[in-house]
Symmetry: C2
Amino acid sequence: MSSSPPSRGRPRDPRSHEAIIDATAKLVVEVGYAATSIGAVAARAGVGKDTIYRRWPGKPELVFEAVFTTTDDAPAPDTGTLAGDLTVMLQGLVDEFHAPAAAAALPGLLADFAADPELRARIRGDFLAPSKDRLLVVFERAATRGEIAAETPVDLVLDTLAGAVFFHVGLVGERPDRQLAATLAAVVAKGIEVR
Amino acid sequence: MSSSPPSRGRPRDPRSHEAIIDATAKLVVEVGYAATSIGAVAARAGVGKDTIYRRWPGKPELVFEAVFTTTDDAPAPDTGTLAGDLTVMLQGLVDEFHAPAAAAALPGLLADFAADPELRARIRGDFLAPSKDRLLVVFERAATRGEIAAETPVDLVLDTLAGAVFFHVGLVGERPDRQLAATLAAVVAKGIEVR
């Protein structure tokens, strides 16, 4: 984004960014993924379609950001233990997958992901990058405390955490019990600890 | 199945069952999920459509069985350690998700799963039951050896294993390295061990 030229028109308005994200999340719940068009989002957010297309390549990216990156801007948790930090991150994932917007967006989003090799190739790079960055901070602190080895495979752990929540809450549709995040965090933390 | 009355027609022919499963897996790879109709499967397998509908409620169930239950009939692994047994089970999952049939079936299958609440409700009961049975045998042996506590949550561990492989191989599309199953098995086994 930062490398794109500051071309036509006014500088970006953070309020319009938030209005677009907000309109997208609400529209998906109200009318479903299929009917959530860029045009409908633009109308709801009070912006032009080109404003949206300047920031997002298409609907999947926009919906993904609106539904599944709600905790990405939060600083990495720092509870003092690896299990505690993973619990905080997992609780964010559980909340996202359990929210009405996730249930509304997931079918269409998954179909688009799975059917589009280019989109698929961008999952790791674009969609998962902020989560990976937060997990790397958590891992660095855990390594400094001596809880894990420096070479703990961050991508695999990230996929394990996200996959477990996705499968348990998103796909199988289990109602997440209040201990889900803590239980999963305890298992994974113990599994990668050096002791 | 065994509780249904032995009604109209001949007894079931295991060869036709295998021919149907085989035709389904091949058709999905050749023409994709959308074009894999019950009629096309019937023609390819040399059976009538009603033969298929007597055994499977519809296409998603048939495709799921053809693509994702290839190891369900194998006995539960018995390598002598929990990590070893989980490695064998995970390698089966990795192989399934990495096979061409999975790549071909996953988009449509996920869309059908996610869009159909009834189908979704059957995932745990019908689709995951054989895997859960095998994992329960593995867990019983591990508990007898003192590796894990008797109350280890089998559903959550199953979702963690399946979700990790699904996310890593199926969704993100990482080419699974040869150590993937063993690495994941080691993490999860260590994470649920009593020590």
